[in-house]
C-alpha cells in the first residue's frame, strides 16, 4: 500500500465495488430498460426487430407502456399506491407516540433494552414474521380459536387472504422502519425549546403541533421513505396474506417474469415502479438539502 501513489489509492480500493455493482446491478437495470421497449415473441423470448425505423416511428416500442395503462394494470398500480400510503400513515401514527416515550419519557435503565428490542425485528426474517400472521389469522388460527372460546363467534371468520390481512402484515413488517428514525429525531430534539414554548404560554397540544412535530419532521420524512418504498414493491406479504383481489405491483412483476414469461412487459412495469420510487427519493433528497443535511 505504501508504494502506491496516494492519488490512485482510492480508485484501487473502490475498483472491486464498482465492478460488482456495475456488472451485476447497473448493467441488469440497463438491460431491463432496453427490454421494456422490446416485444415478446410467441414462444416467450424476445422478438427480433427487422425494421428499426418502422418499429420506432409506429410507436410500437412504447406498446408495453401503453399496455400498462390498461384498466386492469392501472387498478393494481393504484391499489399498491394507496396501500403503501396507508401503510406509511398507519406506521407513523402508531410509531410516533411509542418513539416519543422511548426518547423523552422512558426510564433510562429501560431505554437500552427497549431500543435493542426495536432494532431486532429490523433484521430478522421478514418471511418468518409474515408467516407468524398466517398462524394467527388462518381459519384454525389463534384469533379464531380465541374468539370462539370467548363465545363471541360460533363459526370461524375469514380473517386471512383479504386486504385487511395484507394491511396488517405490511404495518407489522414496516413498523420498526418508522419507529427508529422518528426516535432518532425526537432524541435530538432540544428540550429547552419545549420549555420555552411552555413558558410563552403554549398548551400541551399547541406545543406538540407547533414545536415538537415540526422539529421531528425530518425523522418522519426518513421513516416515510423507509416504509413507503418497500411497501410499494411488496411481494411476500401480499402473496402469503392476500387473496386474488389483493395483488400488488410486486406480484404482477413477478408474474410477468415467471409464469407469464413476458419479460418486456414485466420490464416496463418494473421500470414504472422504479420511477415512482426514484421520484419519491428525489423529493426526499431535495427536502434534506433544503434543510442543509448531507444525504449521501
Amino acid at each position: 500500500m505504501a508504494d502506491l501513489a496516494p492519488r490512485s489509492r482510492p480508485f484501487l480500493l473502490l475498483l472491486p465495488t464498482w465492478l460488482t455493482l456495475g456488472l451485476f446491478f447497473v448493467l441488469p437495470l440497463g438491460i431491463v430498460l432496453i427490454l421494456s421497449f422490446a416485444q415478446r415473441s410467441p414462444t416467450g423470448s424476445i422478438s427480433p426487430v427487422t425494421d428499426w425505423w418502422a418499429y420506432i416511428s409506429s410507436g410500437k416500442f412504447l406498446s408495453n407502456y401503453a399496455q400498462s395503462l390498461d384498466g386492469l394494470y392501472l387498478r393494481i398500480f393504484w391499489r399498491s399506491l394507496w396501500m403503501a400510503v396507508l401503510t406509511t400513515v398507519l406506521c407513523a401514527v402508531i410509531a410516533y407516540p411509542a418513539a416519543y416515550y422511548l426518547a423523552i419519557a422512558a426510564p433510562t435503565r429501560w431505554k437500552g433494552l427497549l431500543l435493542a428490542l426495536a432494532v431486532i425485528p429490523f433484521w430478522t426474517s421478514f418471511l418468518v414474521r409474515t408467516y407468524a400472521w398466517m398462524l394467527i389469522l388462518r381459519t384454525q388460527g389463534l384469533a379464531n380459536d380465541l374468539l370462539i372460546a370467548a363465545h363471541l363467534i360460533k363459526e370461524p371468520l375469514d380473517l386471512l387472504y383479504n386486504q385487511t390481512s395484507v394491511m396488517i402484515g405490511l404495518v407489522y413488517g414496516e413498523l420498526p422502519f418508522m419507529l427508529l428514525p422518528v426516535y432518532a429525531s425526537l432524541e435530538k430534539l432540544d428540550r429547552s425549546l419545549l420549555e420555552a414554548a411552555s413558558d410563552l404560554g403554549a398548551g400541551k397540544w399547541s406545543r406538540f403541533w407547533r414545536v415538537t412535530l415540526p422539529l421531528t419532521a425530518p425523522g418522519l420524512a426518513a421513516g416515510t421513505v423507509l416504509v413507503f418504498v418497500p411497501s410499494l414493491g411488496q411481494f411476500v406479504v401480499s402473496d402469503l396474506l392476500g387473496g386474488s383481489r389483493s395483488m400488488l405491483i410486486g406480484n404482477m412483476i413477478q408474474n410477468q417474469f415467471t409464469t407469464a414469461r413476458n419479460q418486456p412487459f414485466g420490464s416496463a412495469l418494473a421500470l414504472e415502479l422504479t420511477l415512482l420510487v426514484l421520484l419519491l427519493l428525489i423529493a426526499y433528497a431535495a427536502y434534506a438539502r433544503k434543510r442543509g443535511e448531507e444525504l449521501l
Binding site: V119, P121, L135, L273, T274, L281
Partner: protein, 274 residues
C-alpha cells in the same frame, strides 16, 4: 425533564403512564406473533391452535427431513461465501470513502445507496434477465452473486461510518512515531476497524440467510435455500414443522443481530488499541 414537568406535574406523569402503556402495546404487537410462533413450535396439536401439551416432535422431525437439511446446507454455503466476498469487496470501499477525497465520490455514494432503495423485486427480475441472456446457469453461484450485490453496500456503509466516527489522531500519532503508512494501517487502523467489519459481516450473513424474494428469482434447480424451502412448505399449508424451522431461523438470526449490535456499540473501544 423536571423543568418541563414543573407546570401541571400531575397531568404530565399521568400522560406519561398512558404513553408507557401504549408503548407496551406496540411492543406486544411487534413481539406477540414471534412468541406465538415459537410457542406453537412446541405444541403437540397438529392442526388447531389449541395447546395440547409440550413436545419436541416437530424438531425431531426436522432433523430427519433431508430436504430441509439440504436447504440449510445451501443457505450456510451461500451465507458464508456472501459474507466473505462482500466484506472483501466492501471494506476497502468503506475505507476509501472515509479516508480519501476523489473525483466521482458522489456518484460512488449514490451507487452504494441505490441497491438499498431500488425495490428488491426489480433487482431480482433484472439480474435473472442478465444471467439468462449471458447464458449463465442458475445455481448456488447465481444466488451468491445476487447476495453479494445487496451486501456490499451494507459493508461499505458500516465500515465508512465506523471510520468516520474514529479519531484520526491515532493514525497520525503512529506516523509521527515513525510508522510507515502500511504499518500504521496494519497496526492502528485495522484493529480499530475490525469490530466494524465483523459486525458488518454478521449483518450481511443474516441478510443472506433471510433473503427470499431476490433468491427466488436467481436460484436454480438444486439451489433451494432455507427461506425458499420454508416458502414452498407454507404454500402447501401450515404445519407444525414449519413452526419449528421458522423458530430456529428466527432465533439464529436474532442471536447474530444481537452480537453485531454489541460489536457496533462503541466506535472506539479503548481496550482494542494496543
Amino acid at each position: 425533564m423536571s423543568q418541563i414537568t414543573s407546570k401541571g406535574k400531575g397531568t404530565f406523569s399521568a400522560s406519561h403512564a398512558a404513553l408507557a402503556v401504549y408503548t407496551g402495546a406496540v411492543y406486544l404487537f411487534l413481539y406477540a406473533p414471534i412468541v406465538i410462533l415459537i410457542v406453537f413450535s412446541f405444541n403437540r396439536a397438529k392442526q388447531t391452535a389449541v395447546w395440547e401439551g409440550f413436545t419436541l416432535e416437530w424438531y425431531a422431525k426436522l432433523l430427519g427431513n433431508a430436504e430441509v437439511g439440504h436447504a440449510v446446507v445451501n443457505s450456510l454455503i451461500v451465507g458464508g461465501l456472501t459474507t466473505l466476498l462482500a466484506t472483501l469487496i466492501g471494506t476497502p470501499a468503506g475505507l476509501a470513502l472515509a479516508r480519501h477525497r476523489f473525483p466521482g465520490e458522489t456518484v460512488t455514494r449514490a451507487l452504494l445507496y441505490l441497491p438499498l432503495v431500488i425495490p428488491e423485486i426489480v433487482f431480482g427480475a433484472a439480474l435473472v434477465t442478465l444471467l439468462g441472456l449471458a447464458g449463465f446457469r442458475l445455481g448456488l453461484w447465481s444466488v451468491v452473486i445476487a447476495h453479494v450485490v445487496f451486501s456490499v453496500p451494507y459493508v461499505a456503509i458500516v465500515v465508512r461510518s465506523r471510520l468516520a466516527g474514529m479519531d484520526r489522531s491515532l493514525e497520525e500519532a503512529a506516523a509521527d512515531l515513525g510508522a510507515s503508512p502500511a504499518e500504521a494501517f496494519r497496526r492502528v487502523t485495522l484493529p480499530l476497524l475490525m469490530p466494524g467489519v465483523v459486525a458488518a459481516g454478521l449483518l450481511v450473513f443474516t441478510l443472506s440467510l433471510d433473503d427470499y424474494l431476490i433468491t427466488s428469482f436467481v436460484a436454480g434447480v438444486g439451489a433451494t435455500t432455507l427461506p425458499l424451502k420454508i416458502y414452498s412448505m407454507l404454500k402447501t399449508g401450515v404445519t407444525p414443522e414449519i413452526n419449528a424451522v421458522s423458530s430456529l431461523l428466527l432465533v439464529v438470526t436474532m442471536a447474530l443481530v444481537l452480537v453485531a449490535q454489541v460489536l457496533l456499540r462503541d466506535p472506539t473501544p479503548k481496550d482494542n488499541v494496543r
